[in-house]
Subunit: 205 residues, 2 copies
């Protein structure tokens, strides 16, 4: 079983390699990659070994080959159809964020319960009434869901996404959720990012 | 040296213990904590051991004691003054997010370059002209900074925060940043959260 942190680091390696390619670098080594991402070259070799044999000993890695391999491991060598529930401040920032499209994630429909928003199209994405969600999700064959609504409505949103056939969900709403066994939910709490900073600021002092 | 992932897990343990306390549970075990967070009890014991001896063998942990210990490790047993640069969709969602205050992070001033926003107060936070930032940061003794502006302006924002005495910065802006040696920057790219989901959705298939 691959540790969650290896998956996270694969995303970081992917970004560093993309940058190298952008700078015209076509071959690299685990030492050069280590310099770019801040993990030891031993850690990099251990992470990559979970997924196969890459590179030639002594000659390093072909950047394009390694990028393709990591993209296929992460599943970002294809497009994903994403639905967004809740188009408030956070939801709108996610709609507008180019970083999703760059990695193959296309938010193609959004849902809200605010009559002033329903029927509009923002950043090219139609906003539907949350009451119609299950039909729209099924018709559009949505694979990933993002929840950006208040805590009280989050469980309903999850149930609706699942009823619409979505099995992988990212949620920003706080609070406990009951998740069916075959559904995977990833929770984000941005306060934890500040806790990482406060940990380091405290441990230095 | 404590691994970054241990710090991340300490934030998760903190949240699970808080929930236990909310449910009236006053003592717990690494097995019960393991059930709540999804990591093995061996991993939990290993993580906690970085920071000291907690609990009594055979009798488990006092929830309140463990909470206090983790809070002090993470530096969330005190309040932190936070400045926000950029009050657009993402910035506003961060201003309004209660999860920051709950963990001791108080956004007490914000900066923008949009004349329609400067001088306003949103969610109790005054929005200053980014041109006056260095003075305001110094006077308010700001310790943490959050960057939520477009990539092109991010390096200027970092330099401004550093000139204002801020040494720990969370940034949502894409692109490379030149960071002085004694400053710590944490980058967030929410696309990586979707990549975690696409990895799992792909590896099951
Ligand atoms: N986890 C994090 O790090 C983090 C960060 C910021 C915000 N948040 C959370 O994200 C949520 C959204 O934040 P925001 O600032 O965008 O809030 P907001 O009030 O601006 O937006 C909420 C949106 O959800 C819609 N909505 C409400 N109930 C709904 C329902 N039952 N069905 C469909 N749509 C519904 C509203 O009409 C609105 O458009 C909040 O719960 C907030 O706590 C979490
Ligand atoms: N990393 C991530 O996961 C993630 C997610 C969403 C958005 N983003 C990024 O966050 C940034 C903000 O997103 P948004 O949706 O809030 O955009 P937005 O356009 O709504 O907000 C940007 C705000 O920054 C202000 N601004 C612009 N230049 C400035 C400067 N030089 N000094 C001070 N203020 C300035 C604008 O006036 C505006 O208020 C974008 O760069 C976006 O790519 C990142």
């Amino acid at each position: 079983k691959v540790p969650q942190t290896t998956v996270y680091r694969m995303s970081l390696y992917y970004r560093a390699l993309k940058q190298m390619l952008g700078n015209g670098i076509t071959t690299t080594s685990s030492a050069a990659l280590s310099e770019a991402v801040g993990f030891t070259d031993a850690q990099i070799r251990k992470d990559l070994a979970y997924f196969g044999q890459f590179g030639v000993p002594g000659r390093g890695y072909e950047v394009e080959n390694l990028l393709e391999a990591i993209a296929s491991v992460l599943g970002i060598n294809r497009r994903w159809k994403v639905a967004l529930v809740g188009v408030g401040h956070l939801g709108y920032a996610l709609l507008a964020y180019k970083g999703f499209k760059d990695q193959g994630f296309d938010i193609c429909c959004a849902f809200d319960n605010d009559p002033d928003k329903i029927g509009k199209t923002w950043e090219g994405v139609p906003i539907h009434d949350v009451a119609e969600a299950v039909d729209v999700l099924r018709e559009s064959r949505i694979e990933l869901g993002v929840i950006a609504i208040p805590e009280a409505a989050a469980q309903n949103a999850l149930d609706m996404l699942v009823a619409g056939g979505v099995k992988s969900i990212l949620t920003f709403a706080p609070g406990r959720l009951h998740v069916p066994p075959d559904v995977r939910v990833r929770r984000v709490d941005l306060a934890m990012e500040l806790e990482w900073l406060s940990y380091h600021a405290t441990s230095i002092a």
